[in-house]
């Protein structure tokens, strides 16, 4: 009897452990890309905090706007002071769900295309965003990637007339996070 109870208890513990598993990173990557005939601008942020719940598909990420690094110092200044106003709006966040998380077999290596939807907050403005991405499983490591195409006007980011030909009206935000496991 004792053995049966012990086995049941161990089984319940194992199920609870699996269901409680979540994955996180504090150093994921988000890049920003603007392409115009005048110039291409790319900036990277490698200080992105993200949490993924493989059971529910819940996904969130948060970053400090001041962590974006541009090739040119002046671009970085303008990005922080004039466009994203990072003193006033220091963080950008996404809180949503991977809708088809059940398609991902976390125990088997592979690239699983998924759809992500949720609320994206930039420059203090929150909009619903849906995009396609991939969950990549390789050797037990999980990487999440997605590209959001964002219209700057939707987030009340104003570009001065003087440089309006240098910055695209829609930008690509690429998310690339390699997760660690958190029980």
């Amino acid at each position: 009897m004792k053995r049966i109870l012990l086995s049941v208890w161990m089984l319940i513990s194992a199920v609870n452990t699996v269901s409680a598993q979540k994955y996180y990173t504090k150093n994921g990557n988000v890049s920003f890309f603007s392409k115009t005939n005048m110039e291409n601008i790319k900036a990277d942020n490698n200080q992105v905090m993200s949490v993924l719940n493989p059971q529910t598909g819940e996904l969130q990420f948060s970053l400090l706007v001041k962590s974006f690094h541009f090739p040119k110092a002046l671009m970085e200044e303008h990005f922080n002071e004039n466009y994203l106003e990072s003193d006033k709006f220091p963080k950008s966040t996404f809180k949503g769900t991977i809708n088809d998380i059940s398609k991902v077999n976390f125990a088997s290596d592979g690239t699983y295309p998924v759809t992500v939807s949720g609320e994206l907050t930039i420059h203090g403005v929150t909009n619903t965003a849906t995009t396609k991405g991939n969950i990549i499983i390789k050797g037990g490591k999980i990487t999440g990637t997605a590209i959001f195409i964002v219209a700057l006007a939707d987030y009340k980011v104003a570009i001065p007339k003087l440089v309006e030909n240098n910055i695209s009206k829609t930008i690509e935000i690429t998310v690339n996070c390699l997760y660690d496991q958190k029980m």
């Binding site: 996180y24 150093n27 990557n29 949490v51 948060s62 001041k66 962590s67 966040t93 690339n176």
Partner: protein
């Protein structure tokens, strides 16, 4: 009369050249030389405490400033861009001064006491439900010899 026009034209050309040169230098202004900059010295435990106890004051004093943060190395790894990532202990379990290095990090060892100079971008978001603490981020880090 022709001489006067010539003078005006010369002035316009000089002003245009000066303006173009100025614009070029501003546009190509280099990033702050962190390795050569003087950083405000602060101990990792104190820096983390400042952000968690009085974030308004911490933001005013530390964000976008060059800091020289000293403390004990918890771990060293590489991020997805292959940059060295050094976590300095803060005294709070699971919370670190999270330094992304621009300079070499080969001499940094786990458990060693170091001082790293870089720009502070603030404290990141944690997740209270999961017990994930927010780190204080230092970017463009250089090991102080």
């Amino acid at each position: 009369m022709a001489g006067k026009a010539k003078k005006i034209l010369s002035v316009i050309i000089v002003l245009t050249l000066v303006g173009a040169a100025l614009g070029y230098f501003i546009w190509n202004k280099p990033h702050l030389d962190i390795a050569g900059a003087t950083g405000t010295k602060v101990v990792a435990t104190e820096l983390y405490k400042a952000f968690t106890t009085d974030s308004v004051s911490a933001k005013q004093h530390y964000i976008q400033q060059v800091l020289e943060v000293s403390g004990t190395v918890n771990s060293i790894s590489k991020n997805q861009q292959n940059q060295a990532l050094v976590l300095i202990k803060t005294g709070a379990d699971g919370a670190f001064i999270n330094c992304t290095m621009e300079g070499p990090a080969d001499d940094i060892k786990e458990g060693a006491t170091v001082a790293i100079k870089g720009i502070c971008s603030g404290i990141g978001q944690g997740d209270a439900d999961l017990g994930i603490m927010g780190d204080v981020y230092l970017v463009r880090g250089y090991l102080v010899k």
